[in-house]
């Protein structure tokens, strides 16, 4: 019995110092690794595996679940910009967005400029879906808007186009990361064409049966239901079809993507 307890004490001592060492090593090495670009490139492989496996799983064009209206959240949290700064937006808001136009250009046969009234006159899709924030929370809302695929077909996407890039009217500040604060920047987003043409990808102008409110992206926001919240760009001004995301802002395809978040946000 004495032998067991002595051995156990020795073992506990070894294990305890081992754990303490592991703890210190963890703080030093995990942070160092996180900030090394080589390790970042290694971790980035997981994004490719995730994206490609989800592309395979969703190759049939599966729809995100749509909920009954009774599941709609009483309060839908707004993240990111909740009221764009600047004279132009203030004036547009004062005019009830009567002169707001959505431009569609880039690699298209017929560039378009659609007013809010013209968008509302198009065939609409209404969907009650769950909005999943990258932070972990979810809210359910009802969205009405023009299918993006319809707009893109009207504009005639050229075969060389690979991505749709969404330009927004708001400038967003960053968040703390990698030990420092991030820079503010113009909000933008981008989608692969397979997601842009998905039937649930809409340019929404109404939420829960009422015109979009300012915190939710008035007058226009993107809904791309099979991806996380930050892909759902608000305060939409312009859609550009491009063959590469390089050279657009930080080159990673979106405001948050330029600040380290995954471009494919299916998880």
């Amino acid at each position: 019995m004495i032998r067991v307890s002595r051995r156990a004490a020795l073992g506990a001592g070894i294990a305890g110092s081992g754990l303490a060492l592991a703890g210190c090593a963890k703080i030093i090495s995990a942070d160092k690794l996180t900030q090394s670009s080589a390790f970042e490139r290694v971790l980035a492989y997981a994004q490719v595996w995730t994206r490609e496996s989800q592309r395979f799983l969703l190759s049939g064009g599966a729809l995100a679940r749509e909920y009954p209206a009774s599941d709609i959240s009483a309060h839908f949290r707004a993240n990111g910009t909740v009221h764009p700064a600047g004279e132009a937006y203030a004036q547009a808001l004062a005019e009830g967005f009567a002169h707001w136009t959505l431009q569609i250009g880039g690699l298209v046969a017929r560039p378009l400029a659609l007013t809010l009234a013209e968008l509302r006159a198009l065939p609409a899709r209404t969907q009650v879906t769950r909005h999943d924030c990258v932070e972990g929370w979810s809210a359910i809302g009802g969205w009405t808007g023009a299918p993006l695929g319809l707009l893109l077909r009207a504009a005639g996407v050229l075969p060389s186009a690979k991505y749709a890039v969404f330009y927004c009217a708001d400038v967003l500040g960053g968040e703390p990361a990698k030990g420092g604060a991030q820079s503010p920047g113009q909000y933008y987003e981008s989608l692969a064409l397979v997601d842009a043409f998905h039937p649930q990808t809409i340019i929404a102008y109404a939420m829960n049966g009422r015109p979009l409110e300012v915190p939710h992206g008035a007058p226009l926001r993107l809904r791309v239901e099979r991806q996380l919240g930050y892909k759902h760009a608000k305060y939409l001004l312009q859609i550009q079809l491009v063959d590469s995301l390089a050279g657009i802002h930080g080159g990673a395809g979106g405001y948050w993507e330029d600040r380290g978040y995954d471009w494919y946000a299916g998880i």
Binding site: A46, T50, V134, G136, A177, K178, E225
Partner: protein, 248 residues
């Protein structure tokens, strides 16, 4: 454990001076054990960093600042999160890389256990095992670890612990996938299985907590059973069987 463990001659009293050395853990078990251990370490640390972005848990389809949470959690301290500072984007990169590694390693282990019959031979609780549960509980409570022949097999509580942690890791993968809006579109039955995305998120945390509990108990048992011998057996595969105790 391998066949030579079962067929080895019983330790004679004279063998006590020099403990019998058996080949206890196959290479696949040892490899996947350490890959899983490292992955769980990285997943727990990065998972708590992710949780710090919204440290509240809900039940049902939805949950956000305007909903009543099941629990509001404290902020997880820097020494336990990966990275130590707040960085949701990087924590997610760690998390998904090690999730892929754990799933791959887990599938290799499961496939090998099936083919080699490791699962059936070493992990399946036998009728004799079930009868020995009260005895095994008593032995564990008194910190008495098996010696001789008994030390060559997993005891019944050990079997349940290992089977339980395999089930928990499967549950982690399933609840984790339910958090993905992409996977939810492809497999909406996952949402029904767990009662909604926010329920799945809460279960993801509960299962992770149980895995951490397993790891703590596992480490305590390793220390009590003789850490050098136990750790060596999981590195080289060789395990020194503790000699039979004298009667009384």
């Amino acid at each position: 454990m391998t066949a030579d463990a079962a067929t080895a001659a019983p330790a004679s009293p004279r063998a006590r001076a020099k403990p019998e050395l058996i080949y206890r853990h196959a290479l696949v078990v040892r490899l996947t054990h350490w890959i899983n251990a490292a992955s769980i370490f990285a997943l727990v640390g990065s998972g708590l960093n992710i949780l710090n972005a919204h440290p509240a848990l809900y039940w049902g389809l939805q949950g956000n600042d305007y909903a009543d949470p099941l629990a509001r959690l404290p902020a997880w301290p820097a020494w336990i999160t990966i990275p130590s500072y707040r960085d949701l984007a990087s924590a997610r990169h760690w998390h998904f890389m090690f999730a892929w590694i754990l799933v791959a390693s887990g599938l290799v282990y499961l496939a090998w256990s099936l083919v080699s019959r490791h699962g059936w031979r070493d992990l399946r609780p036998t009728l004799a095992d079930l009868r020995a549960i009260p005895r095994s509980i008593l032995d564990h409570a008194r910190l008495r670890h098996p010696h001789g022949e008994g030390a060559k097999r997993y005891n019944v509580l050990q079997k349940f612990a290992y089977l339980g942690v395999i089930a928990l890791i499967a549950g982690m993968a399933a609840t984790g996938l339910t958090l993905s809006p992409g996977v939810d579109a492809a497999a909406p039955w996952l949402l029904d299985l767990f009662g909604g995305r926010q329920s799945a998120r809460t279960l993801h945390f509960v299962f992770a907590s149980l895995i951490v509990l397993f790891v703590v108990v596992h480490l305590v048992e390793v220390v009590l059973a003789g850490p050098l011998n136990e750790v060596r057996s999981m590195i080289t595969g060789r395990y020194a069987v503790p000699p039979e105790r004298d009667a009384g």
